[in-house]
């Protein structure tokens, strides 16, 4: 538990900053939700079909749901995934880059314990951040009398799993990268590329199967709002990939040579 609380403490200031910045964005979005609800339908209908598809326009969705899926959910997914990447890189890469790994691994603790405890902090903190952002967004909509759907909480769950899955992949790959700032650039660059790829595929009307390699498609809010449930195949796949990558990280970290 000492290791866990030490990492929680290390990440506390980061969590505060991400939460503060995220809340500013989310509450701003929530403030415009009422206007979007009243006028958004007409606005969406005037958009070219490529943009409509890009923003998740689909029959059966209310204008408020369109606003949530097209704007709020996208913003929060990006925030959560970026935060997940930063936390994943703090598990090992930042320790190696700043040389605190020597202090940590000179203690009587197994490498598996270090990795798994710190990964648990990544999972927990992305959950805390997502919960606060979605909670504030939903509470703000409630205060405006907009009656948010219970499915919005499911979008949060899907995005949390997405952040953990991408965090797990980041963790595994980052074990071969000892330079923290380089790792940040690589992963945020990759994430941006994947995000825009997903947008382009959506604009081109590519169906779900065609977007299978795009991680953001696994937490697409539109089917969650329409079905009122998490798509099980996507959910299981995100859980599976997260468990697989985190599990594979353990032996890789155990074999990692930590030179001076």
């Amino acid at each position: 538990m000492t290791l866990f609380w030490q990492q929680m403490r290390a990440q506390f200031m980061g969590l505060l900053i991400w939460t503060g910045a995220g809340l500013l964005l989310v509450l701003g979005l929530a403030g415009s939700a009422a206007a979007a609800g009243a006028e958004g339908g007409a606005m969406f209908e005037k958009l070219p079909p490529e943009l409509q598809r890009m923003m998740g326009y689909q029959e059966g969705l209310s204008t408020l749901d369109l606003f949530v899926s097209g704007k709020a959910a996208v913003s929060m997914a990006l925030i959560l995934v970026l935060y997940g990447i930063v936390l994943a890189l703090s598990v090992v890469t930042r320790e190696v880059d700043r040389r605190t790994i020597d202090f940590l691994l000179s203690l009587p603790v197994s490498r598996s314990q270090v990795l798994l405890t710190r990964t648990a902090v990544m999972v927990m903190n992305t959950g805390i951040l997502g919960g606060i952002l979605w909670g504030a967004f939903i509470a703000s909509m409630n205060r405006q009398g907009l009656e948010p759907l219970p499915a919005y909480w499911l979008i949060f769950l899907a995005q949390w799993l997405l952040a953990v899955m991408i965090g797990g992949i980041t963790l595994l790959v980052s074990l071969w990268i000892d330079d923290y700032s380089l790792a940040i650039k690589i992963f945020i660059g990759l994430l941006s590329a994947l995000y825009f790829l997903d947008l382009m595929l959506k604009a081109a009307g590519v169906d779900r199967i065609g977007r299978i390699l795009s991680p953001f498609s696994y937490a697409d809010p539109v089917p969650i709002i329409l079905e009122g449930a998490l798509p099980w195949s996507d959910t299981l796949l995100m859980i599976g990939v997260a468990l697989l990558t985190i599990g594979a990280s353990v032996p890789v970290f155990n074999r990692k040579q930590i030179s001076a």
Binding site: Q6, F103, L105, V109
Partner: protein, 296 residues
């Protein structure tokens, strides 16, 4: 029993550097000095013994425990000071030490405070705001606060001012008196000479000398000063004589070879006074590194 026993240990990097087929034994209760310039393999050997690096060949045991398979137990009983220690900057010195002691299951905080008082460091300040020397002091306390049986120090005095260096060397002597083993890598001869019982010299990843400080100094060159009643005989052609300097009836030189030959030559003149001294350890060390000497 040996505190550290290394047999045929090899850990080479892709560029060919590292340590190659090292054999080494450090007796319990001794202070061992591990000498070598940057890149000789000192840190690689230490990191392999502590489990940061996996050996490609050979084995190492620490306090009777296999360094690879029982690394966690080894680290419980060892205090380690890295060559460039880094602590958690967002925490105070005390919080860093508290974290380390809790991880080790140590409840006693008296020793930590005693060490802080000896080294005159304010532990309440955040590590981020500390000077390099003060960070080094906190790292030294982290290596010693749990009262380890073996203390491994990688260039421990870098960043410390001369007064604190002296306090630190006193701490090392005190640990030896308490029966602890100290393994200290350094390229500062004076500190090795001041506290170490035995010395190992590493060159290009291989141990080239291993002996007591006194024996190492005796092994090779001697500083010779002579005074003659009459003219100083010309000894510069004698095998092993270098740095030949004559001042009146006095001659000073360095002798690197058989003293029998020298004495025979000296007796040819009217010798009044003769002083033969051991060189400082720096000179011994320089010889190994200039390739003048092989090793044991």
């Amino acid at each position: 029993m040996q505190a550290i026993q290394i047999q045929g240990l090899t850990r080479l990097y892709k560029n060919g550097r590292g340590v190659n087929n090292i054999d080494l034994a450090v007796p319990q209760g001794s202070v061992f000095g591990f000498l070598g310039p940057n890149g000789a393999g000192k840190t690689t050997l230490i990191r392999t013994v502590l489990g940061f690096l996996k050996p490609q060949a050979g084995q190492a045991s620490v306090l009777g425990l296999d360094a690879v398979t029982r690394s966690r137990e080894v680290r419980r009983r060892v205090g380690y000071l890295p060559s460039d220690p880094a602590l958690y900057e967002f925490l105070s010195g005390r919080d860093n030490l508290e974290f380390a002691l809790r991880m080790r299951g140590v409840k006693d905080r008296i020793r930590m405070q005693t060490l802080a008082d000896r080294l005159e460091i304010d532990l309440t300040r955040r590590v981020k705001s500390l000077s390099r020397g003060n960070k080094q002091k906190v790292a030294i306390i982290a290596a010693l606060a749990h009262d380890p049986d073996l203390i491994i120090l990688d260039e421990p005095t870098s960043g410390l001012d001369p007064l604190v260096q002296e306090t630190f060397l006193d701490l090392i002597r005190q640990e030896r008196q308490r029966g602890k083993t100290v393994f200290m890598s350094s390229h500062i001869m004076s500190e090795v000479e001041a506290v170490c019982d035995q010395v190992g010299v590493i060159k290009d990843g291989r141990i080239v000398a291993f002996d007591t400080v006194a024996n190492l100094k005796k092994q090779r060159v001697k500083y010779v000063q002579t005074e003659f009643a009459g003219e100083v005989p010309n000894l510069r052609t004698v095998a092993g004589v270098t740095d030949w300097q004559v001042e009146g009836r006095r001659a000073r030189f360095t002798m690197n070879g058989s003293l029998d030959t020298l004495v025979a030559e000296l007796s040819k003149g009217a010798l009044v006074d003769l002083t033969v001294t051991d060189p400082p350890l720096e000179e011994v060390f320089r010889q190994f590194y200039e390739g003048a000497g092989g090793g044991k």
